[in-house]
Amino acid sequence: MPKAWMLGLFHEATPTATAIDHLRGLSISDEQITVLSGMPFRPEIFGRPHYRGRVGRLALLGAFLGLLFGLFLSAGIWLLYPLAQGGQPLVPVPPMLIVLFEATMLGMMWAAFFSLLIENRFPIVKSQLYDPRITEGHIGVLVEADERLSLQVEKLLNANGAHHFQRIIEPERLLEPRRGTWRDAGTDFLSALRGPDPGHRGFWLSVLGIVTLLGIVSMLFAYNLIPFPFPTQMENQVSIAYEQGPRLAAPAAAIPVQGPVLAADQPASEPIPVSPDSLQRGLVLYGVTCIICHGPTGTGSGTLSSFFNPKPADFTSAPIQGLEDDTLFLVVTQGFGLMPSIAENLGVQERWDVINYVRSFKK
């Protein structure tokens, strides 16, 4: 028996509801009627059964999958590739809660969106029995019935105030199973609204295939199976190993590692001749500035000497007394090793006084 699909347009809700009510009198079941509208009407308005879809449950499933993904990010990564970082345990609870929350919400909402598309069979590519006035506030009643009922349905809809009527009759295809194909746009208008749609399945399978393919291709690059001449591969960096030559020349004012020498642009300083006044001043200044490290007898055993390694210089020893005056002056002025520069404590004349006094430690 050929099927007929009919669409009647109404201006507003009450006559639509009455017409749907009367259609039941023609023993047309609820599944054969669909209401098309430009805004969501509550099912009670037209006396329609509540539609309980799966979007909510699928969103919950998505939330669970998101939770698993979040667990992988916050805990799984660390268990796979442990890298102890200071201050936090390997799987810290508060950051894990944050990541779990975000990933769960991500999974829930993405699942809700994609299940909306799939449950509504989007994208619908086959032509539908439709009228653009649906989006102008008119309400459409779409009925699927046997062909012999179609005239009665038309009379009934018109009697209840439908101002427009359309009918399509399926041609003789009695024995073929009702299955829509990707290219079959002529009949089967309502199969996109309910029931499996191979064309629709094909769309989503190909989307999944493309995404998987992109993932595999990018992994090939990530694991260097397809070597790509990235300009910034770490192993191709310029080597800055300092022990390899050539050594750069030292700048002119640099102090060589062997110790202070008379620096090229240092002003030459005339030593002050040794005199009782100079020695007296040196004694006092030594007692203020130097005694704390070098000790009262100049043997390098001052109060702070135990903190230094190597110990402060022993002025009674031959190597120290063998140093030039200029060398001693530079050591005091610039510092040497652990000894800081004393230049801010002693002026130039005062430094020579101290050096004269230090010479007196010679055994």
């Binding site: 201006h11 507003e12 539609y51 950051p95 919400m105 991500l106 909402m109 989006t135 779409l142």
Partner: protein, 482 residues
Amino acid sequence: MSEPHVSRPIWQRINPQDEHLARQVEHARQEHLLLDPRYPLEMDRGVLDPMSRTGPRYWIFLVIFAGLVAMWGATWTAQMLNGLGITGLKRPVMWALYIVNFVYFIGIGHAGTFISAALRALHVEWRRPISRAAEFLTIFGLATAGMFPIVHLGRAWKFYWLLPYPNERQIWPSYHSPLLWDLTAILTYLSCSALFAYMSLLPDLAMARDHTIGWRHRFYDLLALGWHGTERQWANHETALNVFTYGIIPVMFSVHTIVSWDFAMAIQPGWHSTVFGPYFVIGALFSGVAAVIMVLAIVRATMGLGYFLRREHFDGMGKFLLLLSLSWDYFYFNDVIVPWYGQAPVEKTIFALLTGGRAAPVFYLMLFSNVIVPVALAFKRVRTSIPAIFIVSVFIQIGMYMERFMIVPITLGQNDLPFDWGVYVPYLPETLITIGAFAFVVSLFFISSRFFPLIPVWEVYEGQVMQGLRRIGRAILPERTE
């Protein structure tokens, strides 16, 4: 006025005989969009026609803004070739204008979600015509903000190392760090906001498909996915919208909290404060609602949408903005009083810098714009005058930008080590990129306003069907169902 036993379409008006009642009805229809139904085709055309109207002024402005965006591209290229040294970043101010922009643009994105999701959950009906423009602002703001960590990277081409994928280096991004929580949260928020906006758009894309011809028709036909408005489609749509509504509100709160933790987790004086989470969220809503008001005022004026966007909407948003201003004042006071009371030396120097030092102009401008100016919103005359509320919103944008500038570069310049203190001066590259970012958001709005209907007509129509007028005694009052 509806009488229960006579059914007629909502757009066929009946005026009561009594003159007093008729005047009330007229006033209610003028004030409230949802009590003023028109024939839906008129509403559809009212939204679709401005989308094809692109006069010379439109093109001139679009070219200017697109030029500024191109300037962003050129400056960024120069920065990628020459390194971040050409910017004003130096010790100790390692985070400066780029991070300020990042926080700012994420902030203005929060209002869109609040208006389209939270107000929907609370059944606040005046959100109906404004939710789409607000949601677009969220998406554009987030997209712009998401570029800034990449700009700030210097070697921007390595940004993909931030993503968790198996690789030969066997290095995974560390979820111990707030920067990674930030990445996850922002990706979640951006993708879910985009999906939410697209789902709300579907019925309007179908409407546009049905009322356009040529390339526009094909474009909307593709995007509408074959939406026909069947019961099943609407029911699933409603469920999905509910999942998103109740899901994206906590995500919105979490996103700016996590952005604030980029700062609060560091032991930097002025940053290491536990109140940063809620403080930043309120600041985001504050600047966001002000931005939405600005966008709606401009869209209403330039696209002739005066039927849809009425004084009641700006009044409602203005009240919300005043509430947010007072909340911001409260949270900022919380942030300030605790370190002030503790009198720690470094905090004292920060306060001295802000109240009397080099940063004083920024600080006082911020206080004036955020605390003093919004007090004007207490007056209905200000809230219902679109130029006045626009000016208040501009001040709030300035104030909130100054607030972020104060938090990021200025506070960073005074840390625990006085020898390490520094003063940040924005150089040309980051200034040009900042201007380009603002131009980017504006350009996106320019372009999207001509491709997508900025008013959700299906939601307005639903609201109009669900609301009516009822006579109680001598008054005609609105009544509402859900």
